[in-house]
């Protein structure tokens, strides 16, 4: 029979919408509105998983996000399989397949269960005490076994097929939790039109009102009140209702992160819809109405499938119309389980209730139940359970006021609902850095002084009565004080630790942390060994470290430690709660930042042309730059040789657009640059360019580039590609905070101007026909000059500069015109064999001339003198950024690493960039290293390989033979001047 444990009536499920899922290959019928846990229980499935360490059979403990046991793999199709889903949270959807985890060969027959038998030698922290011999075995033998046994589910192997998005939002009041307190808070807060967001992790708002069938509020059934409240909120334009949305992180300054589950509950994924949405809410005020978690009881074998929390039994019956058993024993130390027992009886189940408290402590509960024909056993303890893969009985015994345990009896049952009282869900409050306060009366930590604009309300701060919850929520939402009339809730419980037992407590397994298999005796062992701080106990035993993050176990562990040490609970401390409140997929956090949207891919205006002409690209920061342009059949080496040859012999064309550019404008522009760069700027004539080097205040090279003076009060500064943003920031910082008196404004024009480098002996020939308003003759437009005019009819800032050592121009044009200008140059250059070249050829060409690249020859520890640019420093300048640091003792040492050329004895050996250099390759390790190769290429122009290197005292080593590491050993190389081609630099004047 389908759904044998489905109750014939009731519940919030939609019986008109049947659906079907699969569990471990078996069909499970369910209804819309079911959780997977409810669907499994409806079909009589009790055993749903194996525990982490002992592989004990486990069932469903709870009905919500605090579930530690029922973790399942969920399969929604290719790319949509993931492990460790709580069955109590996953909504049943047509066609999904769920399966149990952490067992082999099967859930029913798990060989890992041998660990349960071995448990006497596997107490808390056993691994710290053994597996140390022989030394190599830890990593080779023991650790792999432990790793294989640990872990829960299996990580996906395919890329995630789903989409995720982010949303930033702001509101006056964010209410977390849509139970009675949260609804009341949202109503009050939104009354005057203020923006309110109400979020609840459940598919439906209402919290306990969804399963409290008998309560009334203001004279009406609670369910009606709930519906009315929701209708009111939904009708208000200023209210955003977010069901299926968990607030998981409470960060600084009321920044709250929430995850909205948008897609998973739908049977079929709509490709447009994301699976999950991360909300980042900045709220003026936060109301935490997050409710409370029920505590399990700690007794021997309290983990058998079928033993669950009392309120969860009630939820399964009332909300899902599922009978978690036909004969249910409720075991409790408090009042709330009486309501659950009454509802179970009303659903037609056979019910017994066992209360640890004496009859006199129990209030009206026993009489109420007995009136319904329910057997109530007060003053009884639980000493164990029977069954294996499902509970078959609860072993109880009378216990007197002194804790003396009487004779045992076994209450046959197929379901147990236990309740050890309640723990307010203070996780978010704790994350907000609010100080927790221990409330003796309810044996729990409750919110104390808030650290941010926050109020907790209702059960989240230990207010368990319905009317009080509503009033508290209303007040937290800013409402004027008012009373709510509601059915009194059964509240109050006796705090219990491990239940009194007649068994040897040292030998039984009474679980505290179900998922991590931490028992009361593990806690005791940790304390015995000196782990007295609760954080130590947590780390030593792993209690509270499971995927439920201790929601059901923290208070029990804390209580046990306090009991053993005979200290008040607050002296033992509470654990700090960290985000997230419940586990959140990486995908949600990442949102859209995947693939092309992971990091912006910046492309220059000529990218598409380069791509169309066969360029291979390299990443340089966020930029994608043309690396080289191989022709069919060419490898990179051949392509680069050809590109270099073209520049040296005729003309090459290069996209230099990614260079940073800053327009420096104002009366004091020259003075400003004078202070920023190491060299002199005051006397640079308009129309002239100069190469500049700038330092950080620590004296190390920060950036370099050519600067052109366009007008007395206007400079066009260029920076390295990678330095564009940080140089501007550096300049702005000094301008605003150190020299605010200077009349200078800075504007980034990096992307305003595309830069086409036209380099080679025929560059002028290609350029001339396209330019108007500029006399290109060498005499009137010399090297290191700048002119403005037009090219192809559009404005240009034409630089005569060269990073190749050839006659060259850098043609700046407004970016959108670059493609047209480039194509015109390309067409014009055909007769000269114009050749596009990429960054690799650019590197070779400049290295032949010994020009440095900041970031390649320098690394943040290099001074101008180190790279031979000490002569650039304007001696007359009293100060510039970094000058003082150059006078520090270490900067003046003769053994500093200096830039030199390096020529391998084998002329065709291209040394490896990064290779280290030694004087004596036969010295013992550790060797004295003299420096490293910074740049190394095959140079066609030189007919051999060339390299630049930083070598200790290098300039005094000219002609010496040093030894450079290679993948197989060392290669001898001679120290040479760091200029290999056209040493006098004459070709640029062509």
């Amino acid at each position: 029979m389908a759904q044998p444990c489905r109750l014939p009536a009731g519940g919030r499920i939609d019986r008109a919408k049947p659906l079907r899922l699969r569990f471990n290959g078996r069909d499970i019928e369910a209804y819309a509105g079911d959780s997977v846990a409810a669907a499994l229980l409806a079909n009589g499935v009790r055993l749903v998983g194996r525990s982490f360490k002992y592989h004990r059979p486990r069932g469903i403990l709870s009905h919500g996000s605090d579930e530690p046991n029922a973790l399942l793999q969920v399969d929604r199709g290719p790319g949509r399989i993931d492990p460790n889903n709580r069955a109590t949270v996953v909504e049943a959807a047509d066609g999904i397949a769920v399966s149990s985890q952490n067992h082999w060969p099967s859930l029913e027959h798990d060989l890992g269960a041998v660990n349960d038998l071995l448990s006497p030698v596997l107490p808390a922290g056993f691994y710290y005490k053994t597996f140390m011999w022989p030394q190599s075995f830890w990593q080779r033998v023991y650790e792999p076994k432990i790793r294989a046994a640990a872990g829960l589910g299996v990580a996906p192997h395919e890329a995630d097929a789903d989409r995720y998005v982010h949303r930033h939002a702001h509101c006056a009041v964010l209410v977390v939790g849509g139970g009675p307190a949260g609804l009341a808070a949202a109503l009050a807060a939104s009354d005057d039109g203020a923006r309110v967001i109400l979020a609840d992790e459940q598919p439906e708002f209402g919290g306990t009102l969804l399963h409290d069938l008998h309560a009334t509020i203001d004279g009406a059934p609670a369910g009606d009140w709930r519906a009315q409240a929701l209708a009111t909120l939904a009708a208000r334009a200023n209210v955003t209702l977010l069901p299926r949305t968990t607030a998981f992180g409470y960060y600084n300054h009321n920044h709250i992160a929430l995850v909205e589950r948008v897609g998973d509950h739908r049977a079929r994924q709509d490709d447009r819809r994301p699976r999950e949405r991360l909300w980042q809410v900045r709220a003026r005020q936060v109301v935490l109405a997050t409710g409370a978690h029920e505590r399990p009881l700690v007794f021997a074998d309290n983990d058998r499938p079928g033993i669950m929390l009392a309120e969860s039994v009630r939820v399964f019956i009332n909300r899902y119309a599922v009978a978690p058993g036909r004969r249910i024993v409720f075991a409790t130390s408090g009042a709330s389980a009486y309501a659950a027992a009454a509802d179970a009886k009303a659903a037609g189940l056979d019910v017994t209730l066992v209360d640890i408290r004496a009859e006199a402590e129990c209030g009206p509960g026993p009489a109420m139940l007995r009136a319904r024909g329910i057997d109530v056993l007060p003053a009884h303890t639980i000493v164990g359970s029977t069954g294996r893969k499902a509970v078959t009985g609860l072993i109880v015994a009378p216990v007197d006021a002194n804790g003396i345990v009487g004779p045992r009896r076994t209450l046959a049952c197929d379901g147990v609902g236990m309740s050890g009282g309640w723990t307010p869900a203070v996780h978010l409050f704790s994350q907000s850095r609010g100080k927790l306060r221990y409330d003796d009366a309810i044996d729990a930590f409750v919110p104390g002084t808030p650290a941010q604009a926050e109020r907790s309300a209702g059960a989240a701060r230990g207010i368990y009565d319905l009317a009080a919850c509503l009033a508290d929520g209303w007040a937290a939402g800013g409402g004027a004080a008012r009373d709510f009339a509601a059915t009194p809730s059964p509240t109050g419980f006796r705090p219990v630790r491990a239940l009194p037992t007649d068994a040897d407590a040292k030998r039984v397994k009474a679980f505290v942390d179900f998922q991590n298999d931490v028992t009361a005796k593990d806690i005791a062992l940790a304390v015995r060994e000196g782990f007295e701080s609760v954080e130590h106990v947590k780390r030593y035993t792993t209690t509270g470290m499971a995927t439920d993050q201790g929601k059901t176990s923290n208070m029990a562990a804390l209580g046990l430690v306090a009991e053993i040490l005979d200290r008040p609970v607050p002296q033992v401390g509470t654990t700090t709660f960290r985000p997230p409140y419940t586990p959140v997929t990486f995908g949600t956090i990442v949102g859209s930042a995947r693939g092309a949207l992971f990091d912006p891919i910046r492309v220059a205006p000529l990218h598409d042309w380069a791509a169309a002409h066969g360029a291979r690209f390299e990443n340089v920061g966020l930029w994608r730059r043309a690396w080289h342009f191989p022709r069919p059949g060419e490898d990179m080496h051949a392509a680069v040789r050809r590109e270099c040859r073209a520049v040296r012999e005729s003309v090459g064309i290069f996209d230099a657009s990614t260079l940073g550019k800053i327009e420096v404008v104002g009366r004091d522009a020259a003075e400003f640059l004078h202070r920023i760069y190491i060299n002199a700027w005051l006397k640079l004539e308009p129309g002239r360019c100069r190469y500049g080097v700038m330092l950080k205040e620590d004296g190390f090279i920060f950036d370099d580039g050519v600067v052109a003076r366009m007008a007395p009060d206007r400079f066009h500064v260029t920076t390295t590609t990678g330095g564009a943003a940080r140089v501007l920031a550096h300049m702005e910082d000094y301008l605003q905070t150190e020299w605010p008196d200077l009349e200078v404004f800075l504007t980034s024009v990096s992307e305003q101007w595309a830069v086409i480098a036209l380099q080679g002996p025929r560059a002028r020939d290609v350029l001339a026909p396209l330019v108007e308003g500029i006399d290109l003759a060498a005499a009137s437009f010399p090297h290191m000059a700048v002119r403005t005019g037009t090219i192809c009819g559009v404005p240009t800032r034409l630089f005569r500069v060269s990073f190749t050592g050839e006659l060259g121009y850098e043609i700046n044009v407004p970016a959108d015109y670059a493609r047209a200008v480039w194509e015109a140059l390309w067409a014009r250059g055909q007769e000269f064999g114009i050749t596009p070249y990429g960054t690799e050829a650019m590197h070779v060409l400049r290295a032949e001339r010994g020009f440095i690249i900041v970031g390649q020859e320098t690394d943040g520890t290099v001074t101008p003198d180190d790279v031979g640019l000490g002569g650039m420093i304007a001696r007359a300048k009293a100060d510039f950024v970094g000058k003082r640091s150059l006078a520090r003792p270490d900067m003046l040492k003769p053994d500093r690493k200096q830039l030199v050329g390096l020529l391998a004895d084998a002329p065709d050996l291209v040394l490896e960039e990064g290779a280290q250099i030694v004087a004596d390759p036969h010295q013992p390790i550790p060797m004295t290293m003299l420096g490293h190769v910074t740049s190394s290429y095959w140079s066609d122009a030189c007919g051999r390989a060339i390299a630049l290197a930083l070598v200790s005292g290098g300039r005094a080593r000219m002609g010496q033979t040093l030894h450079v590491t290679t993948p197989t050993g060392f290669a001898p190389a001679r120290v040479a001047a760091p200029v290999f081609f056209d040493p006098k630099g004459e070709r640029v004047h062509g």
Binding site: A169, A596, L622, F745, R819
Partner: protein, 191 residues
């Protein structure tokens, strides 16, 4: 060859915004744009220059004649905006109006790219990457500010009452900005 001005190749192909759609994300046609820098006190003293109002509050914009607009992005910084064809005139007029003062007028017409985001879900889509409060109370018509969209810096404007937001970003970030908006907007497209 030189007599004919080269064609313009924008990085995004412009398209028409459809404010009536649930969501419309449309790259805009090229425009004239200048970064104007001027000391705060000077702006207060002169009030406006070449028809551009300059003394509005920071992070506010003001429309001027002939489709021009000035947005104040900081105490001494404005984004001046106008039709592409007005570029030279704007430069000339502003230079003339501010002659003798300490100021910087820099052409950024090709640096920036604009994308219009319109429709009922425009705010939701922009808030898919932008952390600012775009509610009418917090970001009323006439607002303009530099901020972030995902991993890109943008200038976000809402020039007037129309529910149309304009996002300006640097040229090379435009494909990313458009891509992010379209990705977030997929949920609402055709809705």
């Amino acid at each position: 060859m030189a007599e004919q001005a080269a064609r313009r190749t924008p990085i995004l192909a412009p398209s028409a915004a459809r404010p009536e759609a649930a969501i419309s994300i449309a790259p805009m046609v090229p425009a004239a744009r200048f970064a104007l820098r001027l000391p705060e006190a000077a702006a207060k003293a002169i009030g406006s220059a070449a028809g551009f109002r300059l003394d509005m509050a920071i992070n506010r914009s003001a429309a001027a004649r002939d489709g021009r607009l000035a947005a104040r992005l900081g105490p001494d910084e404005w984004l001046l905006h106008g039709p592409e064809t007005a570029s030279e005139a704007i430069a000339r007029d502003v230079e003339a109006a501010l002659a003798g003062r300490h100021f910087a007028l820099v052409d950024i017409g090709h640096r920036n790219v604009a994308i219009a985001v319109a429709g009922a879900h425009a705010r939701a889509v922009i808030n898919g990457g932008c952390p600012l409060d775009l509610d009418d109370d917090a970001f009323p018509p006439g607002s303009a500010t530099r901020t972030l969209l995902g991993k890109a810096e943008i200038v976000l404007l809402r020039p007037d009452e129309a529910p149309v937001f304009r996002i300006e970003c640097w040229r090379s970030f435009a494909p990313y900005v458009l891509g992010l908006l379209e990705e977030v907007g997929r949920e609402f497209a055709g809705a």
